[in-house]
Symmetry: D2
Subunit: 344 residues, 4 copies
Amino acid sequence: MINAVIIGASGYTGAELIRLLSNHSKVKIAALVAESNAGKKADELYSHLYGAGLPDLVTFDEVDFTGVDVAFCCLPHATTHNIAKRIPESVVIIDLSADFRIDDATTYEAWYAVPHTAAELQANAVYGLTEHARDAVRRARLIACPGCYPTSMLLPLLPLLRQKIISGEGIIVDAKSGITGAGRGAKTANLFTEVNDSVRPYGIGGHRHVAEVEQELSKVAGEAVQISFTPQVVPMNRGILSCIYATFLGGKTIKEARKALTDAYRDDPFVVVLPEGKTPQTRDVMGSNQCRIALFEDRVAGRIIVLSVIDNLVKGASGQAVQNMNIRFGFSEAEGLESLALFP
Amino acid sequence: MINAVIIGASGYTGAELIRLLSNHSKVKIAALVAESNAGKKADELYSHLYGAGLPDLVTFDEVDFTGVDVAFCCLPHATTHNIAKRIPESVVIIDLSADFRIDDATTYEAWYAVPHTAAELQANAVYGLTEHARDAVRRARLIACPGCYPTSMLLPLLPLLRQKIISGEGIIVDAKSGITGAGRGAKTANLFTEVNDSVRPYGIGGHRHVAEVEQELSKVAGEAVQISFTPQVVPMNRGILSCIYATFLGGKTIKEARKALTDAYRDDPFVVVLPEGKTPQTRDVMGSNQCRIALFEDRVAGRIIVLSVIDNLVKGASGQAVQNMNIRFGFSEAEGLESLALFP
Amino acid sequence: MINAVIIGASGYTGAELIRLLSNHSKVKIAALVAESNAGKKADELYSHLYGAGLPDLVTFDEVDFTGVDVAFCCLPHATTHNIAKRIPESVVIIDLSADFRIDDATTYEAWYAVPHTAAELQANAVYGLTEHARDAVRRARLIACPGCYPTSMLLPLLPLLRQKIISGEGIIVDAKSGITGAGRGAKTANLFTEVNDSVRPYGIGGHRHVAEVEQELSKVAGEAVQISFTPQVVPMNRGILSCIYATFLGGKTIKEARKALTDAYRDDPFVVVLPEGKTPQTRDVMGSNQCRIALFEDRVAGRIIVLSVIDNLVKGASGQAVQNMNIRFGFSEAEGLESLALFP
Amino acid sequence: MINAVIIGASGYTGAELIRLLSNHSKVKIAALVAESNAGKKADELYSHLYGAGLPDLVTFDEVDFTGVDVAFCCLPHATTHNIAKRIPESVVIIDLSADFRIDDATTYEAWYAVPHTAAELQANAVYGLTEHARDAVRRARLIACPGCYPTSMLLPLLPLLRQKIISGEGIIVDAKSGITGAGRGAKTANLFTEVNDSVRPYGIGGHRHVAEVEQELSKVAGEAVQISFTPQVVPMNRGILSCIYATFLGGKTIKEARKALTDAYRDDPFVVVLPEGKTPQTRDVMGSNQCRIALFEDRVAGRIIVLSVIDNLVKGASGQAVQNMNIRFGFSEAEGLESLALFP
């Protein structure tokens, strides 16, 4: 048994960690940190947690880190680097913000508009896209879990680029997300009345998640890759569907694309490459840690369409965080993450 | 480990049983029966089940019952009694239809408009409202799981009537249900387009679930109890909220009502009586086997308002079925049912 | 042509007035008042209004009331009475808040927790439940439009009580509302994530709308009437369904109840008493000014179930306001309100 | 006043025509045709139509075409050409199916898998994308209204291709639609339970609407244009959002693109080119006949992103049909179509 602290327990990824860790046989939740809600009971923030036997919320300063093995940081972007420095070195940090995903401090500051205050931690952080980072995760002090959109794009794109199946040029990603991706902040635009019965694009050509995606794609492509990315909010709580449009590199075929992906993820419990003819939908993975990928040859010669679905709060956030924890602490990789999707 | 067969695996309660049993450490799904879909793979009916390692669908006649311990019947009302007779006697039957809930064959025929063809099974069936039937469930050959609406009403009402806190006269139940309660049949009225953005009452003054509720209430009241019942469909998949309006028996108070319920369910893992001031919503129990109950003194003197929420597919159907199985086979009552609700 | 000013144009009832008045052949929108949004264009608040040819938002003090015939007040409860005093006397006031609905200042202060500062206006205000107040509306300086829940209850209940068909004792109203009823304020509880897939009761036994309902019911009953009232939020934008449970007065029947209502509303364009066997749903009136009512004899002898649906933003707010304006200014009562419901 | 017949009145586009024509001062609905529902009242199919004063449903053979000016055909694809031949020649036909959209019979048969039986009508049919076909519409016997997806794509793409702003190669359209686009047929996949809380791609690389889009694009481009097209269903009733990705032709800029579109639609009441920085959502046009278009320069040099929203049942079907009728019969083009969108 290890002891875990959740810092930023009042947001949706914090609540999802509570759900997943409550199902985990090897983890005890030692503390729930939520500065502005400190002193409250967990069920005052989340009524479904009534009776779940959780500790009350505390401030960061109230946490006794003695015996704590891992801290999950579920704080907003650009605040985590200030907190992370204050966590004792003996504690493994699994961060769900963007603060440690970007290798280069200048790039970070360009996209997130604040100077990074924990450069030494950033330098040693591991980008925790689990299936592509197991060795590094196993030894990491700080694991930066990828963003939700990036996870849904990188899992299909990395093997295709690495195997030179598709071109790094002209990749277009049209992504649709449930509204939990926007967090629990009280904003008019996210009221039920405003989200219901509508599809709403936002951040056209400039979403911050592009930074980490291009960073990771460029690494495997061996050259600078730039993508077109259009995120959209749809009226549902959970789920991301990324539709990826790309061109085959000289002569490559859908068959080779499928082989590249099935080979890459043959032994992975959570990445499912669908057989020909199957089309994924976001409900297929609601509440589950799976990423499902489907490949289609386009009618337009030389083009491929890749569809990828995840639950943004699970494989796109808290589930991948637990998966990384499992690897880091030598547990079975799927421990606590094996539930089937909730349907209907 | 016991072996389970699910008969009627193509409906929503069948799919929910698959989800719950997949999480259960003591049960192996030996066969999935679905007459008209026999020969298909489970994921051809439910895409989220792709890769879940389930057996293909078969007809009832194809099932080898050797070594099978329990059969869950998830068939429509009025067809189960024909199938149940054909299940070997060594197999425990846990039925989710209404066919064995009504003690009296004449009453059954009056409400369900068909003669009962398995009277001997009916005579020995146990009405499996778990918290009120553990002893009988432990020894039962056939357990008739209560309907979803009845579960949400009976759990709060039985202790209040038994303790003479409220009157058996003038009980009014206004209930709202997610649309999964209507099953997976392809009906125009249940299309997304028709259910979305609307609340729709139906079966005013004549829903069949009234029969079993009045049967059980009359038993504890010691006299014939009749209720007013108005079911409504709301645009959500899962959940039932029953608002129950009743009158206190001479001088009884909200305090005594709360005490009666907390006493009745003190040691029950799945019935939660909320403290004063807390109001339940259906999301609190989405995907969970809990029933949450809240009690309010009305502004109108002498009246009480009782709110009760369940997930109709879990505590209202497949979850209660697994709970009964746990008791029947000597497992821990909560085994496989301990997950927190999915929120958000 | 008359000139109208909308005060409180940034809320949902303000936006709905804009929609309805844009369809009205006899009204020009002269000014849109929204203190904290003054200076903005209408489509900065409501993107669908882009290009609709509306005036920019202004403060109250910036309005030139010369030539203005009518002012719609769409402000929160307890702030309207301060503004109303400052509107020139030549301008007819149609108020959508609760501030002028309660005849008695003490009762108002008890429910709304502030002293009333415009007692003389209150004394002369007309409670504008149109079908029951046409003569008074025709001459009124200030028309207080009923609340949304009250409209849905009073339309069916007033004739039944006046004709002594039902008892004033033991009336129970279980009401479900779309979330627009909560307004556009940015509250966590009203985020899409929190409202989606759930039914949520609130304000059990103490919703403020009870005050005006009991006031009006008591008037026609000739004695103090108290009701049980349970409001609930369902995941939809618009619509209210009130399920009303009552008892027949000695020997009265469903036939007499139906006759009382059809007689009462025979010539009314917006109150539809459904024939036997028809059940209303809220979608039937989405975007329309109709109130639809259905009557059912309960299985329990001597009891009646009344269902009533409205669109809370139309007949429950802005539509009734326009209907009152039509009567007040001598236009056809249905002018600008004749569109069919939007379905699907 | 002209007399209109709606053939296929039981589907959603038929119901939407009823809504729009009821608002139209120059049209009387003379007959509603629905073969399998003949004999029923309109409100037996659509409860919101109760009391709307509509004729009962009849078979085609029961229609007396004397005095009828226009027939709207709202029948499924591949059945309309059989019916259209039987409509008297004096009657203008406005068809909402795909049967007369494709100029070339061979292409039609390739996509719709049936031989065309009304080749002479097809030869003279006008493709009624109103803003690009007014002259032809004015004189047409048969107007083939474009599909919903095609309308949303063609309105932005035609001027851009005609003005040589963008290349005809490499156009990618990622489109999201409300579920009304699937019609009212009772299919399991379209149940509320299955559509709710999910995004579902379908018909990848092979949707039939591609045929008419490529036909029209090729005409203005002067060469064969092929597009990549991915349709998706989102959990809402109405609305289409098309995200269009294209490349600028040598040196062309976003400024020139915006000018081309604003010039093209300067005087059109229903095509709104949004100013820089505004992003449309589908709710902006719910219930309205508008198409809203926004243009964005991509981060990737030389690329443009075009967003386009319509209500699939209005500008994408019945609204455009009425707009065409208005032009054909010399009414004001916007008559009956001027209502603002319904929001919230």
